[in-house]
């Protein structure tokens, strides 16, 4: 199968979505932020220039506008660029989009897509390195996509933009843009709620979201080579809906689990997944669940500190070794 970068798969999805459905409207179209991935996005922007509305810096309003338009059939994708900018739009995403269906007893729904780049990007400093997807996961009524591979971003974005009946917070990591991976030719949608076993293993399960997928795969190679440990890497792909069955089946098989996500730990993604595993597969566990998250500090600017707080490959390796020794 062909191998293409994440940003190229993202651009391909956008081009297809815009070509297939005239109701898709982009509000903002950064998508790859300041990364080199822009080279894939720019031709799509040019080809579909008439389908893009470029808003001024008014996240609150343009997210709300997308929500309103999505209630009556438009398929809007709001591109917020840096995920922390979505904090400006929280009242609309959390207090309007997420409750539209419930609040109206199903009379309306707001199937808008909010795409944003989260995470530690390199000199992003305290305000441009944030990872708010746990907050959105904590909000019933929102779908949350955390693609970890090029195939994920293509299939999930297509499904969110074309098929989803609910609002989606779609979180890409800026560090994934040049990551290559196998992507099938042609058009394919990945319905939400289907986890993927990225690597089979028997000794430990590593549940990894987003950029932690390639990091976990690197960790698994190190563990196989240096320790003879076979790690199974499970990529949930979406947090809501969550494919618990695939995650729990892997945990039941291996009896040991490390959960990793690039977000803060308290009430974070790793903590939430660990709690579900503890609730539903405690009897299968042979060691405590370990979590590898961003360290509990605002993400600092300077590179040595930035690396230190990142849930790096070595920290995943260390966590696995820790529970395998027990």
């Amino acid at each position: 199968m062909r191998q293409i970068p994440y940003a190229e798969a993202l651009a391909e999805a956008l081009d297809e979505i815009l070509s297939e459905n005239p109701l898709v409207t982009l509000i903002g179209a950064s998508f790859a932020g300041q990364t080199s991935g822009q080279r894939f996005i720019e031709p799509v922007r040019q080809k579909h220039a008439d389908r893009i509305k470029w808003p001024p810096i008014a996240e609150l309003a343009y997210c709300g506008i997308g929500i309103g338009a999505s209630m009556v059939g438009i398929r809007p994708i709001m591109e917020l660029s840096t995920a922390t900018f979505s904090y400006e739009a929280i009242p609309q995403i959390v207090n309007e989009a997420a409750i539209a269906c419930s609040n109206s007893a199903g009379q309306t729904t707001a199937p808008a897509v909010f795409h944003m780049l989260h995470g530690i990007r390199g000199a992003g400093a305290v305000q441009h390195s944030g990872s708010p997807h746990p907050w959105y996961w904590n909000t019933p009524g929102l779908y949350v996509a955390v693609p970890g591979t090029p195939a994920d971003v293509k299939g999930l974005l297509r499904w969110a933009a074309l098929d989803s009946r609910n609002p989606t917070v779609f979180v890409s990591h800026s560090g994934l843009m040049e990551t290559t991976g196998p992507v099938p030719e042609g058009r394919f949608n990945l319905p939400f709620g289907q986890a993927q076993i990225e690597r089979a293993g028997t000794d430990v399960t590593v549940v990894a979201c987003g950029i932690q997928v390639p990091r976990a795969l690197d960790a698994a190679e190190t563990l196989a080579g240096e320790d003879g440990i076979q790690a199974e890497v499970v990529n949930p792909r979406t947090l809501d809906p969550l494919d618990k069955a695939t995650i729990l089946a892997s945990v039941r098989k291996t009896g040991r689990v490390v959960v990793t996500d690039e977000s803060h730990d308290v009430c974070g993604v790793a903590a939430g997944l660990a709690a579900i595993i503890a609730d539903e597969a405690f009897d299968a566990l042979r060691a405590p669940i370990k979590r590898v998250s961003t360290l509990p500090v605002p993400v600092p600017y300077s590179q040595p500190m930035e690396d230190f707080v990142t849930p790096r490959v070595e920290r995943i390796v260390g966590a696995v070794r820790d529970i395998l020794r027990r």
């Binding site: 309003a61 709300g64 309103g68 209630m71 269906c101 109206s104 007893a105 199903g106 199937p111």
Partner: protein
């Protein structure tokens, strides 16, 4: 631009009375439900006047003070009252309550309890109308308090930049008798001047005057529908004397239609003199559109309808607790 027809004015009086009697019923039922509520008394001419200028397929969004907008749009008062009580038969199955009554089948698309929360959505509905070439117009109803939130300013700015068919209807319910914008917390002074900041037309209107509201709304809606873009309307209305804090009370008593012609001389005399309902009834009788008897019959019919609505709401079942799990996702 033509005004309301005789038949439309008669129907407007009925709807305004329906709103007033609905709110009176709400205040009388205060002990029966858990939430607090925001009544629309004294603002009836705005909702009814604006909605009379809309097409059936147009969209509106509203706020926590939504009862009047819903009823003006034709929402069934029985189901609305059931929603206020949190009953299974409510417009939102008891999920929304008084803050969030809406009925998408009548174009009431959103009722946000955050004062400016639904305004961006109205701009989005208008953007959709333009993209889909549906010819629809969206109206955002909100109070002066919404002007203090950024959502209003961001949304009206984008509406102006993108020339979408939306009408912003700001109901300043403390504008009368003494026009004092300190009540609105806005530095701009006259609220209608906000429109200038966005290069949009701003229209101020006496929100107690049904025909004036209809004229202004028609002008704004026509401009929107013909591709001219957005308008900001400031509808100036009067604070309901029973509205103190979170719990409105029937302080001035139930509205008595006879007071249109035989006003009592008490502390509420000024309120009644400008009450949009009493004023319209008086005008319609003076102009020979209705006899007093006919006006009182309309009121009696409305009272019966509200009595039935109260009975329906009270006797409706509570939602099963597990329905909390339904409709979280479409």
């Amino acid at each position: 631009m033509s005004g309301l027809s005789t038949e439309q004015r008669r129907e407007a009086l009925r709807r305004m009375l329906l709103i007033r009697r609905f709110e009176e019923a709400t205040m009388k039922m205060r002990e029966e439900y858990p939430g607090h509520y925001h009544v629309y008394c004294g603002q009836e001419a705005t909702a009814v006047g604006v909605c009379a200028a809309l097409r059936a397929d147009d969209h509106i969004v509203t706020t926590h003070r939504n009862h009047g907008h819903n009823l003006a749009r034709g929402v069934d008062p029985a189901r609305a009252l059931a929603e206020v009580l949190g009953k299974a038969t409510g417009t939102c199955g008891g999920k929304g309550g008084t803050f969030h009554i809406m009925d998408a089948s009548l174009g009431v698309m959103s009722a946000s309890g955050i004062v400016a929360g639904s305004i961006p959505q109205a701009v989005g509905l208008a953007l959709a109308a333009r993209l889909q070439q549906s010819g629809r117009v969206a109206v955002a109803f909100f109070g002066d308090g919404a002007l203090n939130e950024g959502a209003f300013h961001e949304a009206i700015n984008l509406a102006a930049l993108w020339t979408v068919p939306v009408v912003f209807v700001c109901e300043f319910n403390e504008a009368i008798p003494a026009y004092d914008t300190r009540n609105a917390g806005m530095a701009v002074g006259e609220l209608v001047r906000l429109a200038d900041s966005y290069s949009l037309p701003g229209l101020a209107v006496d929100g107690r005057d049904l025909d004036a509201v209809f004229q202004v709304a028609s002008q704004a809606i026509e401009r929107a529908r013909s591709g001219g873009g957005a308008t900001f309307v400031e509808s100036r209305t009067q604070w309901y004397p029973g509205y103190q804090g979170r719990w409105a009370r029937l302080t001035p008593g139930e509205t008595d239609l006879r007071h249109a012609w035989e006003p009592p001389d008490d502390q509420y005399a000024e309120w009644r003199a400008n009450d949009p309902i009493l004023r319209l009834a008086r005008e319609l009788v003076d102009e020979g559109v209705l006899t007093r008897h006919a006006a009182e019959r309309i009121d009696a019919d409305v009272r019966s309808e509200i009595e039935r609505a109260v009975e329906f709401a009270r006797s409706s079942p509570w939602p099963a607790p597990e329905t909390a799990y339904t409709d979280i996702y479409a």
